[in-house]
Amino acid sequence: MQIFSCPFCGPRPEPEFHFGGELGNHRPAPDCSPEAWAQYLHFRTNPRGAAEEIWLHIPCGELFKMHRDTVTMTALPGRALGDQP
């Protein structure tokens, strides 16, 4: 089973985590065009290989960011959302 690392709880098994979307998909201003809103809501980069993502660790309820490779499935330890970079 794959192990992901929550920045708050440490390494935990994969079923404890939930995919939260691509990092950097920022909500546009409320008066944006329908096209911009659709891009935000539905359209994705869906990268093959290196990916920066948001994940939820369900037991602690925290969202965090994680670098992952979508082909090899290797994942670096998660980082708190406020951490740089």
Binding site: P13, F43, N46
Partner: protein, 417 residues
Amino acid sequence: MTRHYSALSLLKEGLAGQKGWAKAWESPEPKPRYDMVIVGGGGHGLATAYYLAKQHGITDVAVVEKGWLGGGNTGRNTTVVRSNYFFPESVRLYDMALKLYEGLSRELNYNIMLSQRGMISLAHTPAEMEMAARVVNAMQINGTDAELFGPEDVKRVLPIYNFGPKARYPALGGVWQGRSGTARHDAVAWGYARAAARLGVHILQQCEVTDFLIEGGRCRGVVTASGAIRADKVGLAVAGHSSQMAAKAGFRLPVTSYALQACVSEPVKPILDTVVLSPGAGTYASQSDKGEMVVGGGLDRIPSYGQRGNLPVLETVLSGLVEMFPAFRQLNLMRQWAGIVDVVPDSSPILGESPLPGLFLNCGWGTGGFKSIPAGGVLLAHLMATGQHHDISRPFDLDRFTTGRLIDEAAGSGIAH
């Protein structure tokens, strides 16, 4: 050379030592230009090429496949065909496909081994029974066959089900569609390829498309591993790899790629003669003609291009299976695999011209696009040949994500894809 498949030609070739069969399709040298090019030699791409030639007389067509025919999801799927959807748009689409499947062996002169053995989608709780009644109602109003099953009906079609008093998944009934069933996946790909090739279509395998030729804001062809190929129109049917191709063409899609797994057991004597799905247990199964139990379930919930699949989902699927069918605990698993499927927020496909004029989309079938191959082919061929939507494909245009007219089958029929 013998081309037509029949009892007579079998006999004739049998007597002649099987030496006279014509190749099902040739492997021609790519031409520098075709009227139309289809990227992706799965079921949808091959069917599109066939219907372009057959229904529209456009025979100067190439199908460009990076691997081998059906090596994507078409050759990896669990072969269930059905049209038990909720929304009228979906039923029209999937029932068109099922009707075409019903005549396909004859049309292609290729036995696709369609077996309309019926499918039961089980309900385990009173709430699920109410949802089942709603789906049956919708299906009947939309003009396809559906029946609401009670416990006695389930006993009749699934005598080996766990009806014990302590069963974790009691069978209260479910949605029955008698015309559902299975078909042989490779045969669908090979049958379309052979029929298309006979009409003049070029099938180019081991030829990856790496980019598009874009001139004056239009798609003018593709760049492949063996050179550029020009075309007036290009169709894209690459399932889980649609986002990478879209990026080359300069746009994004509402698609996320996930691994979907399946597995088969060792072959055993006939014991299960329908397709059974339990949305509650997250498991579905059917028995192949060889006797193997073909088992699948939901997606791995981790975006992936690694054609494998993780253990937690397999565990859910198999624990559901042995709980519903205790006799299957003795079965040994033979193989497990995964395909990369193209999941869309409303679980409905995308058909239409892309934001790059001249490039046409057929994707977003997610976990359920084997059943729709004939319709996907007819509709993409119609789009490419006429430049216009067919009435049945219109609701599935990419514009629905901007207008908000989604066709949410995950919510409608509870089909998890």
